[in-house]
């Protein structure tokens, strides 16, 4: 690797840091071969003519080498490498786990005209006032999303480019999406910088986590399909229904029940696609209700229990439970309130005075 660096320094176009070259090389290696041309084009740093000349040869190592060579000719710095990393993570955003944070205004103010330059400046200033060794990069995408990449270092070490934190922020919304980085000690500083830069007063972590960033945005921005009662009929969707050869003497005994289940399901979940979540976790802190015969567990203590639902697509799975006959319709409101309450981690405590378990939001 060092040899490559030395080789690079002799090429025309100026020197490029060895670490930068290595970082770019490793980033390109992470990308599946078919996506490499599109990704490099979205990066927008390398000239288009050279990009077209770059052919996607069988070995990814060779492609990565060629890209690094091109970058050296164009004197890429850590800034461009960081932008490449942002573009990579934007394309493959569902590989990370995103947590939603909600910001609240200390005082009710007018919706300001969002100034991106001022935002960047305030954010950088707040972080760099506490920590010098950080790399901060911004990139704005078409859907008004601002991606912020922060590589953390300490007072003694340089920023670790391979363990960067990503923040996605949409202007004029009180939500920020942060991908969980392993080092949580820098999180308070990050939150501080966010609220300072976006003119909010307070920030708190919501109990909403998922891999699919778009679904999280759908839930908090209220873009998912909800059913509302209206007079005007929605256009019917075409569904492939195979014509049934029904013997008129056969009567489906539970036809009305099936229709009721369908109707209730549609009222709760709506017609459109559900946001994609992978988990729902319920932490029970309720008392153990036993029959009088079993006196093993003391009734004073709360019975600690954790129920976790996991699925590749949890809400679609819940939607199909009742029609498949595996659960009663309507489903428990604990399950169906997930998009509405915008959370998938719940703590269930005793409702005072009533035997049933109630929902408590922390």
């Amino acid at each position: 690797m060092a040899a490559r660096g030395r080789r690079g320094r002799g090429a025309a176009g100026g020197a490029m840091d060895v670490t930068v070259a290595e970082f770019i090389r490793r980033t390109v290696l992470k990308v599946p071969r078919s996506h490499i041309p599109a990704l490099l084009q979205a990066w927008g740093f390398l000239p288009a003519a050279r990009l077209q000349a770059l052919d996607v040869r069988p070995l990814k190592e060779a492609i990565a080498e060629a890209v690094v060579q091109l970058c050296q000719e164009n004197s890429a710095s850590i800034k461009e490498a960081a932008v490449l990393d942002i573009v990579y993570n934007h394309t493959f955003q569902n590989k990370r786990v995103w947590t939603v944070y909600q910001m609240t205004k200390a005082t009710g103010g007018e919706t300001d005209i969002f100034d991106f330059t001022a935002f960047k400046r305030k954010f950088k200033r707040r972080i760099q006032s506490s920590l010098i060794n950080v790399t901060i990069n911004f990139k704005e995408f078409e859907d008004n999303a601002i991606w912020i990449r922060i590589a953390w270092g300490t007072s003694y070490t340089k920023p670790n480019q391979y363990k960067a934190t990503y923040v996605v922020y949409h202007s004029q919304t009180p939500y920020a999406f942060i991908s969980k980085s392993i080092n949580r000690s820098n999180l308070p500083l990050l939150c501080q910088a966010l609220i300072v830069a976006s003119n909010y007063g307070d920030i708190r972590e919501m109990e909403l986590r998922s891999h699919c960033l778009d679904s999280l945005k759908d839930i908090v921005f209220k873009r998912y399909s909800q059913t509302f009662q209206t007079h005007h009929p929605k256009p019917l969707q075409e569904r492939n229904v195979a014509p049934e050869n029904v013997d008129p003497r056969l009567i489906q005994e539970d036809k009305s029940e099936k229709e009721r289940i369908q109707r209730v399901n549609q009222e709760v979940f709506g017609d459109g696609p559900q946001p994609k979540l992978e988990f729902a976790q319920y932490k029970l802190e309720t008392m153990f209700k036993s029959s009088p015969k079993m006196v093993n567990v003391s009734e004073r203590e709360s019975f600690r229990c954790l129920v976790k639902f996991s699925s590749p697509h949890l809400l679609e799975a819940l939607k199909s439970l009742a029609p498949a006959g595996m659960a009663d319709a309507p489903l428990s409101p604990l399950l169906t309130c997930i998009p509405h309450k915008a959370r998938n981690y719940f703590k269930i405590k005793e409702r005072k005075g009533v035997l049933a378990a109630g929902l408590v939001s922390p």
Binding site: I113, D115, H170, Q172, K222, R223, T230, H231, H232
Partner: protein, 351 residues
């Protein structure tokens, strides 16, 4: 058994075997009898079912015959006394028509912009938005009538200041609340429509460096101005200070310093143009000016005649006076009638 064992052991065993054989045979016979009895029972029950079915069909036939006879008898008696029953029939038909008209009116009421439906706990409002003769998205508010009135669910985008408007008006004046919210939503979709239309249809004019935000109340981009000799890039920054208007409150057009004076005054005119006209209309005038420099304004086609058009999103709703029906055409033509379109609803009595 004991004496048989004491006497001759083989005889005892044989006799035991014989006894067992006899017992087995008896059991088999009994089982066969039982099965036969069961079969007979089943056959008897089946016959009974067939009998009952026949009886049921007979009775059904009798009932229907009687009903028909009753109906005929009624008609026969009523044919004697003409006016009263037909008046009743007429009344019923009229009532039916009234109900259907009201239902149809409710169904299309969302075209007015603010419509609602009573729910068990309150009202569900639907705010439909439109801009420039196009119907755009609808947003819903589920309001629960408790003390205080509160919004249970909604599909209003997060960057619209719903909480602020609700805090101001919801408890005191619901009409004002809905009107303000509707104005905000309409202005937002109007601004968004202008920006998207511009990017889609006037991309030849635009230079790039788009800046916008979620509410579309700040828009900045470069565009090219062509004169006889060359093209100059202008940069315009539009600020929409009033969230319930789709025209900017501030439009600053800037260009590089080394431009002729004529272009500087052109920048000023452009600036005032952007303040008073929708974005895509402004660029339309630029395009017309570029194509035919003498022509100031094109003629606005006049929509007259029996049919009036309303474009709605992906399709066209045509309300025709001649026919008593309204047809829905699925078309994706980009043609729009400039200016406002008026639609009139005719619901025929026979329908």
């Amino acid at each position: 058994m004991a004496e048989a064992a004491a006497g001759n052991p083989e005889e005892g065993v044989l006799s035991r075997l014989e006894k067992l054989e006899a017992r087995a045979r008896a059991l088999a016979l009994k089982q066969e009898e039982a099965e036969q009895q069961q079969r007979q029972e089943v056959a008897r029950l089946r016959a009974r079912i067939r009998q009952l079915r026949r009886r049921r069909d007979e009775l059904k036939g009798k009932v229907s015959l009687q009903q028909a006879a009753l109906g005929r008898r009624e008609e026969a008696t009523s044919s004697g006394a003409e006016p009263v029953p037909t008046a009743r029939v007429q009344e019923r038909a009229l009532l039916q028509w009234k109900v259907e008209t009201v239902e149809a009116m409710l169904r299309v009421f969302y075209l007015t912009g603010i419509s609602g439906k009573l729910t068990e706990r309150g009202v569900c409002f639907c705010l439909s938005t439109a801009y420039d003769g196009n119907y755009l998205d609808s947003y819903y508010l589920d309001i629960v009538i408790t003390q205080p009135v509160r919004i249970h669910r909604h599909s209003v985008p997060i960057f619209i200041p719903l909480k602020r408007i609700a805090a101001k008006y919801l408890q005191t004046d619901v009409r004002c609340f809905l009107a303000t919210l509707s104005a905000h939503l309409n202005a937002y979709v109007g601004r968004k429509y202008q920006a998207d239309y511009l990017q889609k249809h006037f991309s030849a004019f635009l230079g790039g460096h788009w800046q916008k935000n979620s509410l579309y109340n700040m828009l900045a981009f470069n565009y090219d101005v062509t004169t006889e000799s060359s093209t100059f890039p202008f940069r315009v920054k539009l600020l929409y200070g009033d969230l319930d208007r789709s025209l900017p409150t501030e439009a600053s057009v800037s260009c590089k310093e080394d431009v002729p004076a004529s272009l500087l005054e052109k920048a000023a005119t452009h600036s005032s143009l952007f303040m008073n006209m929708a974005l895509h209309k402004a660029f339309d005038t630029f395009r017309k000016a570029a194509e035919t420099p003498d022509n100031t304004e094109g003629t606005v086609p006049h929509w007259a005649g029996q049919e009036t058009f309303l474009t709605a999103g992906m399709g066209h709703l045509r309300f025709s006076k001649s026919q008593a029906t309204w047809m829905r055409e699925i078309g994706t033509s980009e043609h729009q009638a400039p200016g406002l379109c008026h639609g009139q609803l005719y619901l025929a009595p026979e329908h």
